[in-house]
Symmetry: C2
Subunit: 713 residues, 2 copies
């Protein structure tokens, strides 16, 4: 790719970004769009928008940028959750890192690369037609003494990344403790999930659990809820909900018509028919509920509650039974976070499912390479011309060819990739995990590996095509092969940052699909008026952001030209995501910052990869001493990571005795703890066994609503 | 190697074995040798030997074999420990495995190999001059259908090993529970070791520990002992002990002389001088002890005792502090098992030491290859002849050349190897481990890796010499390379079993060095009359036995001729070690069978290695289908191992809540538990801070002994 192609791509994307930002700052002020751009505020009733029209509301204004920038971390924490803070800190971490790296990269490494071969004759008008390779390490002569500066740069980036990572880990783990101390009593800290309950003949699960915990945890055991097989009930209830919505809609329609034309009759018949059906369904659900409760569709699993956090922690940190596959305990998720459908409970079954999911994920990753390679082919104009000779004329137009090489490939990739997070989430949910948060965390890892493998390695090593695995089986030569392949793909990844990165941010802000839905909704029959505040999809967003971090770290010493574009990405991202967290997303669950270890591990992986490439590059550039001197850096980085694992990771797995006991003591003086413990007994009841709730606000029984539905007829 | 050379080696070693066994069965009956062959019985006073001479005591008798064979496992368990049972079960496991494998190997695989190329002409008189390769898989034609039988054999051995391993793991973990239930209250189950105690200004460790555990473990905390820096005291005490011994010796000498000649004077001066010096030393020790106790040479570590096993278990299974590098807890070892000298306590320091030890072990393993390669050269007569041309005449004698090729190499290897376990033990002791048992367990792993790497891989891949590492960096080709190299070394390993294996057993039984010492001792001045019952060196014996298991599993399908010799080894070992445990060794500590996971892992490793070699072999023999069909077997074996890790390993790490609480409840009804808890307070006092004990029987103060020493003057 030449400089002018890159500039075209940057120009297009910059223009698009500005367009989207301007549109956003106009559209967000329109009253009708509040559900799109500030659903959180709308639900919380904090929206300050006035309904009368003003001219000002048609002018773009940057006020939201200021508000998003100024919002303090405390504000984010109190309005959302620690997970949000962790996510935003990925951006602030990256900004710190790449500002430092950017200064070194642009002012030191870039000139060295550029003047690598010919020092004297630089024609400024010639630059647009120069290859981007001119700005990368490929341009430096073999064996040149200047490569020692690149060597220093590798050490520099390693030290900076490690220092920042340590600092950040330390900060977030202390934040985690602070949040714990500041929290009110939460059911999931008092409760454990027990699986693999062994049954002797003639006893039922309920009694077995009761007697086991009365026997071995007599002083702390409070109550328990046995999990039941309720998938049929869940189906019935979702049918009932659908029917209810249709009924409500029909009624409002017939009401309108009634007023408009006085004509009804057939409609009323339909309403009556639906009402009859809904009542039947209700009857079925009620019968099903009592059936399940009585006849014992019990699963050998139970939520066991304790009267203190420490008691619960002892329950799940301790192996309970001689056979470790029985009485398997783990901390319960938040009640709303429980993933009810997949309560596969046998130890062996869960293990096998997990293995199958891993195999499936592995194959997804491998099979996915095929479309990626096709896409990769598009950047090769010659290949395209041979494939479709009729396009020859079109492709010879400079602009078209530039769009195709600079823009199209990453757009198509993007499209394919958007399908992956949902698939990975489905995979994760089949793994026997018990909470939505765990599922998203597991999916996050899968998507991350997917991204790194399919976008980075597949693109970098596409030359060697399907022999990708062979490369990785020949450990010794990996650095060499990467050193050859990675710098060659620098221009692709610079374009990738500009297209995929910037586009994803502006589309995140603009919320195209919710906006369209908002305008289409009034015209669609059966559309549900209620809207949920969306929750943030960590499992797809974290891998995306981390991947840009990986690119930055790797190309810092290979092709520092990527850094300004990355800095723009992280700066824009920092503002946009903060804005979205304040206005759009509401947290569905709180893991207490458990996503940070993923970030940390990915950064360490990026660093190790960079260092391996450095080993290969210096070897290739005939500087064997620099190559060997980089190897200790890999060892030191691994040791640093190991130390961080020992120093910080335990804090992210479970809370230590000290703070659990302190917090429990605090509660002794709290007059409300008695009420909380009473409520705890019911916190983990399966929602399918409770009266049906038709809406978010319907906290009570469904009866009044049904009445209302009937009454309004 | 040809068959006759093997037979020579077998003949020599069989003869030596018979000789040693006969000598043993005579020598053990001699009264003077009781300290050599039954030190345990001698100390326990169970020896039934009469002192009067009888002719029968000069005749060899096999009674000891019968007794060793008949002793039940319960007997071993009650007289020794579960560790001993585990060790003996390695032999019974191997006997079961290799009997089955032997039947298949000798009666099915061996004929197939032998008749591999030519079916008809077998001259029975020709066999001694045939190469041993004739009996190995190398003799089967490429692409032969008969190789499918070998393929089935690989599946067969995998299934048998896995079945037996599962069975054994199950048995030993249930045995571990039984032993726990049957045990009396033991101090180490009620105590934890705390390290990394943080100190705030102006407070001392004693108060910090006290207040921390009173605060967070108020209901279970009993007492604690702060560890002190006592290495100087330990030195002083060992000086005093040496001096005491010399004094006692001198006194008995002067006594004798006194009686004999009435001449003394100079001797008495010396005795007085020594007595003076000993008293000074005693004074120093006493001053040192009070200094250490008062002035606070405290180490930030303490043994903390609890009033129940469950309380202690909560203490060490739970992360105590927010910072996981502070208040680091682990289960205390048995009081007599504590390794006092190395109480390096800072978390970071211990971690760095551990890394350094790992690096040192790694280098020991790598550097050790050089002598091994030299030894390997000796089996090559041609090489020897070119190195030492003067030996040409000697080497041309058939017997000499057979001894050299069949016997000498493994003997020299053996000599080198005997130096390794002590070195590895020193390494392990520098790792910051707190007990002798942990040190031996860690050394056991190191010696095991050492053995596998240096004896197996170095011998097998010696052709490719120092490029050994390159082989392992090229993962994909490992099976091929092993498939070429391993069968070629079959004859070396058959000889190794016969020489090294059989010899090690007879020397174990014969106890050459203690026997010699027993005869020399009376003639040596300053010899100590007291003798300790030896403890069993698990860290050198377990790797040795396991290595023979590895050889058996690997060569089962490659060269089944090894199996009869291995069976002989395991049968002999079974009898001899049982005999030794009953008569010679006394357990110094009890890990409760924690050595078994090492055995299990090694067997799995052997199996995986075998299967990898099979993949390579079938590939090499042009049976690609069999080669690919072996790969699932590797995956299944790994999954089996993973399952066993989940199913059994937790039981070997710590006891579950269930049995701890049950056992604690049992104690409530025990009237002696109060006395035990009172004594617990002093169980973990540093021996250097207690009055000096000069002999095993001296349980009381040293004062009477000193008096006695003075009085007898």
């Amino acid at each position: 790719m030449i400089v002018s192609a890159l500039l075209t791509s940057v120009g297009i994307n910059f223009g698009l970004c500005i367009l989207f930002l301007t549109l956003y700052s106009i559209l967000r002020k329109q009253v009708g769009n509040i559900n799109v751009y500030a659903p959180r505020l709308a639900v919380e009733g904090n929206s300050k928008q006035t309904s009368h029209f003003s001219f000002e509301s048609l002018l773009p204004s940057p006020g939201w940028v200021r508000r998003a920038w100024q919002a303090s971390e405390e504000e984010l924490l109190s309005s959302s959750s620690l997970d949000v803070v962790v996510f935003v800190r990925i951006f602030s971490f990256s900004l710190k890192l790449f500002s430092l790296a950017g200064v070194v990269g642009i002012f030191i490494l870039l000139p060295i690369n550029f003047f690598g071969t010919q020092l004297n004759e630089i024609d400024i008008y010639d630059i647009p037609y120069k290859s981007l390779d001119q700005f990368s390490i490929s341009n430096v002569e073999d064996g040149s003494k200047r490569l020692w500066i690149h060597f220093c740069a590798v050490y520099f980036i390693s030290v900076v990344v490690c220092y920042l990572l340590y600092d950040e880990y330390n900060y977030i783990s202390s934040k985690r403790v602070q949040c714990f101390y500041a929290s009110k009593p939460q059911p999931h800290l008092f409760t454990i999930l027990v699986r693999g309950i062994p049954l002797s003949d003639g006893s039922n699960i309920n009694d077995t659990v009761e007697s086991f915990f009365r026997e071995y945890h007599s002083s702390t055991y409070l109550s328990h809820v046995v999990v039941r097989r309720t998938s049929k009930l869940h189906d019935l209830i979702s049918d009932a909900k659908k029917l209810y919505k249709r009924l409500i809609h029909l009624k409002s329609m017939s009401h309108q018509r009634n007023r408009e034309s006085g004509f009804f009759g057939k409609k009323v018949d339909l309403v009556n028919h639906y009402e009859k059906k809904l009542e039947d369904l209700h009857e079925n659900v009620r019968r099903g509920q009592s059936d399940v409760s009585l006849s014992g569709e019990e699963v050998p699993a139970a939520f066991v509650s304790f009267n203190s956090r420490y008691g619960a922690a002892i329950g799940f940190q301790f192996q309970q039974s001689i056979n470790p596959t029985e009485w398997v305990t783990e901390q319960a998720p938040e009640p709303s976070d429980v993933y009810w459908p997949f309560f596969s409970t046998s130890f062996l079954k869960r293990w096998i499912f997990k293995l199958l999911v891993l195999v499936a994920s592995f194959f997804l990753i491998v099979l996915f390479l095929i479309p990626v390679f096709l896409v990769q082919g598009l950047t090769n104009l010659n290949q395209l011309e041979t494939l479709f000779p009729s396009l020859k004329g079109l492709l010879s137009i400079a602009f078209v060819s530039q769009v195709i090489t600079g823009y199209l490939p990453s757009l198509i990739l993007q499209l394919f990739l958007s399908m992956v997070p949902p698939i990975m989430k489905i995979f994760s949910s089949m793994q026997g995990l018990i909470s939505n948060s765990e599922i998203e965390k597991s999916a996050c890892y899968k998507v991350l590996w997917f991204t790194v493998w399919n976008i980075f390695f597949a693109n970098v090593l596409s030359g060697s095509a399907l022999t990708l695995f062979n490369v990785f089986l020949d450990i010794k030569n990996i650095p060499m092969k990467l050193a050859v392949a990675v710098p060659a793909q620098a221009s692709f990844f610079i374009a990738y940052v500009v297209t995929s990165g910037w586009t994803s941010l502006s589309s995140e802000l603009f919320r195209m699909f919710p906006l369209m839905w908002n305008y289409i909704k009034p015209c669609v029959r059966n559309a549900n008026d209620e809207f949920d505040v969306p929750s943030f999809p960590y499992h797809s967003e974290i891998p995306r952001v981390l991947f840009f971090g990986l690119l930055g770290i790797i190309f810092f010493f290979l092709a520092p030209l990527i850094l300004p574009f990355l800095l723009a990405y992280f700066f824009l991202g920092y503002v946009i995501y903060r804005n979205q967290f304040l206005n759009v997303y509401a947290p569905k669950y709180e893991t207490g910052g458990k996503y940070w270890p993923i970030v940390h591990n990915t950064m360490i992986f990026s660093l190790i990869l960079t260092q391996s490439i450095a080993v290969g590059t210096f070897g290739l550039k005939k500087l064997p001493l620099a190559s060997s001197l980089t190897i200790p850096l890999i060892v030191l980085t691994l040791l640093f990571n190991e130390y961080c694992r020992k120093r910080f990771l335990p804090m992210f797995k479970s809370y230590p005795a000290e703070i659990l006991i302190n917090k429990d003591r605090e509660d002794y003086n709290d007059p409300n703890i008695g009420i909380f413990l009473d409520e705890l007994v019911n916190a983990y009841k399966d929602p399918a066994l409770m009266p049906i709730r038709y809406s978010q606000n319907d906290n009570e029984h469904n009866a009044p609503l049904l009445e209302e539905a009937r009454g309004s007829n």
